[in-house]
């Protein structure tokens, strides 16, 4: 099927627009963050939460909806993120239309889709948070930061023109396996950011920590997203193995990409175990989650670009 360059052009345009919108939303979040008064009780709440794992529900200081500047700015940041996600979705859809298949066969397409999943997951998490959303919302800028960086890299260094698939990638398994991998990676990005912030906030009483969502919320977001992503990641690996059986002659060959995906899986299994092991909840578990995402990123960039394996991507 021939590539439609006009449609591809509009896809690129939407990509750029989404990137700019994410950037603006991130700036708004930063403004919200900096004009939010430092709550006094949170530091104490943090100590309680850290201390015994059980929770004191200290009413968050902003639970009385004080619709001041931070609130307004924060809400517009979320609205802008919502708009950006729609524009970004159209970029993915147009790219798919231009090539007539799912648009994830090279690193540019892959990165773009991961970022989209991450932001969409972030919005869902925010929505499901309901009344506590104000506190959680301050996570927004920190979720958008890696998204903006990744999308910038995707649009510059990794950018590749739309191209048909090489024979070994040309299989319906690319839809199944890669979609699952992308979904899991995007959700785990949100999880990793939440755990990273948990760790940043862990030293009780730090000024940064005081403005962040409270540690219980961060911990819960990290855990719940990881719990959703882990079975999807498991499925992605299994689907990859089934595809490998059809394409390379064995379902598991210790190819660097496979091995690294397994390592990440084992690390996340470690995270889930740590959450169920006395003495490992809280910061140690959060560290494991962050390491898990580091392995995912490493697998996505370093292994693809530097370590050559059977997993080669067209256009990088």
């Amino acid at each position: 099927m021939p590539i439609d360059p006009v449609v591809e052009y509009y896809s690129d345009l939407a990509y750029g627009t989404a990137l700019v919108l994410y950037l603006l939303a991130m700036v708004l979040h930063a403004v919200e963050y900096s004009v939010t008064p430092v709550p006094v009780t949170t530091a104490a709440g943090r100590v309680a939460a850290e201390g015994n794992g059980a929770v004191a529900t200290l009413a968050p200081p902003d639970s009385t909806p004080m619709r001041g500047t931070p609130e307004r700015v924060g809400r517009s940041a979320v609205a802008l993120t919502g708009l950006a996600v729609l524009v970004h979705a159209s970029s993915l859809a147009l790219r798919g239309a231009a090539i007539g298949r799912v648009p994830w066969a090279n690193m540019y397409e892959f990165t773009s889709a991961i970022c989209w999943v991450a932001v969409a997951c972030w919005l869902v998490a925010l929505y499901r948070q309901g009344s506590a959303a104000t506190s959680l919302r301050r996570l927004g800028g920190f979720v958008l930061l890696p998204v903006v960086v990744l999308m910038f890299l995707g649009g510059t260094v990794l950018y590749a023109r739309a191209a048909p698939l090489i024979p070994s990638l040309n299989s319906y398994w690319i839809t199944i396996h890669v979609s699952a991998a992308i979904t899991a990676t995007g959700i785990l990005l949100v999880s990793g950011v939440a755990s990273a912030l948990y760790l940043v906030g862990a030293p009780a009483g730090s000024r940064i920590a005081a403005r962040l969502p409270d540690s219980t919320t961060l911990d819960r977001v990290a855990y719940r997203t990881a719990v959703v992503a882990f079975p999807i990641w498991t499925f992605a690996i299994i689907a990859g193995a089934i595809w490998a059986e059809a394409a390379w002659g064995h379902y598991w060959g210790w190819d660097p990409k496979e091995t690294c995906a397994l390592v990440a899986w084992v690390v996340y299994a470690g995270y889930l175990h740590a959450r169920a092991t006395a003495g490992w909840r809280g910061s140690p578990a959060a560290w494991i989650n962050v390491v898990g995402f580091a392995v995912m990123l490493f697998n996505l960039f370093f292994v693809n670009i530097v370590v050559a394996g059977l997993h080669s991507y067209a256009g990088l």
Binding site: G53, A54, V55, T57, A163, P164, I166, P167, S168, N170, S171, W173, T216, R220, Y223, R224, V227, F230, P231, T234, F235, I238, A241, I242, W243, E245, A246, A247, W248, G249, H250, Y251, W252, G253, W254, D255, P256, K257, T259, C260, L262, V263, V266, V267, A269, G270, H273, A274, R275, A276, T277, G279, W280, V295, V303, V307, G309, A314
Partner: protein, 529 residues
Amino acid sequence: MNRLTQLTALARNTWRGLTSMRTALALLFLLALGALPGALLPQYSLNAQRVRTYQAQHPTLAPVLDRLGFFEVFASPWFAAIYLLLFVSLVGCVVPRSIDYARQLRRPPVATPRNLGRLPHHAVSESASTPAEVIATARRRLRGWRIAEGEEHGSVRTLSAERGYLREAGNLVFHVALLGLLVSFAIGKLVGYEGQVIVLANGSQFCNSGSLAYDSFRPGRSVDGTALTPFCVQVNGFTPTYQPTGAPQDYRAAITYQAPGDIAPGTWHPYLLKVNDPLRIGGTRVYLLGHGYAPQFTVTFPDGQQRSAVVQWPPVELATMLSEGTTKFDPPGVTDDAARRTGQLAITGLFAPTAAFRGSLLSSAFPDMLDPAVAIDVLKGDLGNNSGRGQSIFSIDQSMVDSGRLKQVARQNLRPGQQLTLPDRTVVHFDGVTRFVSLQVSYDPTQLWVLGFAVLVLGGLGLSLTVKRRRLWVRVTPGELAGTVVELGGLARTEAAGYGEEFEQIAADLLPPGRAQPPVPTVLSKEGR
């Protein structure tokens, strides 16, 4: 103290330590850490050539790494040790938990705690109904829960309910299936094999008669390469399609094959072998892995005798399929060994499917065969095939050239149909090109087991991560004058929070606001454990 008790205590403690959650965590990390060099360093089993390159580049570090087994991580003893310990830990963890789970299934839910107010979820209200009515309503509302009724003194009645037992079942299935997966994987490695072979796409045949039929063969430990499933494949043609840019789009090999039962009657079945679509003959699979070109040369010796040869020249540049190789000839009719060893010929050089010349330097402009040409050196002398060293069919023995026993006698670019004449009037004619395909044959009888366990792993995981284990207690105390006081307590036994909403819903159903009686129902939900 008795030695024996000491020993048993030691054994018990070791076993406890090994099967504790902490050890499992530590072993999981060791596994992750141990697998990393396997991903980052070149591995013998994947690409021995790259290991050698790495070793040449890191002359001091590489021997140490090699001793530690870092170039063959997944076959190294220490990796096996981690794997085995994890395995033991897993068994030690799963067995007692399964027994415990079976017991739990037979036991009624835990009796109602004395002070429900201290539970994370709690609600009280007064109701006009009688205690018996309240209990009946609660039973109806809690359909699907495991329920046990109790009585306390003062005609206080209680109800204990629990739900979400499938979570633990899912978790156990997950861990047991993981064990099964590891075992089937290991067995598959033991009894399976993989072999690769190059077959000319001009009607040539490959028969799975034994390991010697392959160019390279990797058997499992218990495979000796003799009792392979007999089948034959004949490759009749190979058709690639390319984008205008030269990017490959599709590869197809037209083959016919004989399954084990077809060999005696001599029946052949046609099949179109494609990438991502292997030929499956029983449990044995045949894959199309790659392709390339095999130039054909005919040499006419001064005495008029002719010899032809078609030898695959493997691609050196995948994007353009520029290929490199060697075709070797023995002088015909020479029985004297010394004479033979001065008259051997080697044609070595480059083949381009679409020739592009820079001066007289040959390169390839496109991977498909649009305008083929070769750039060859012809060498004459001793090829060294009697030297005892292993001979590659793809290259000449450079030491023979270095020692002057093999000399270059001509260098020329040829297109199909062209020829060159050597000083001794030997004529080398470039006849044309045949395509070849490289096939892989794989046999792994346990792979369906692995798949089955993988599906169980996934299913168990899904249950275990979505089902919430939670408890609910109801205490019904007759009121001082009339009506009853109904108290509810709830506890989520698992991490996944979100019991709060369900609890509130149950509380709202069981504790009707009554006739504006104080106290109004209070629902206290402390989220977040």
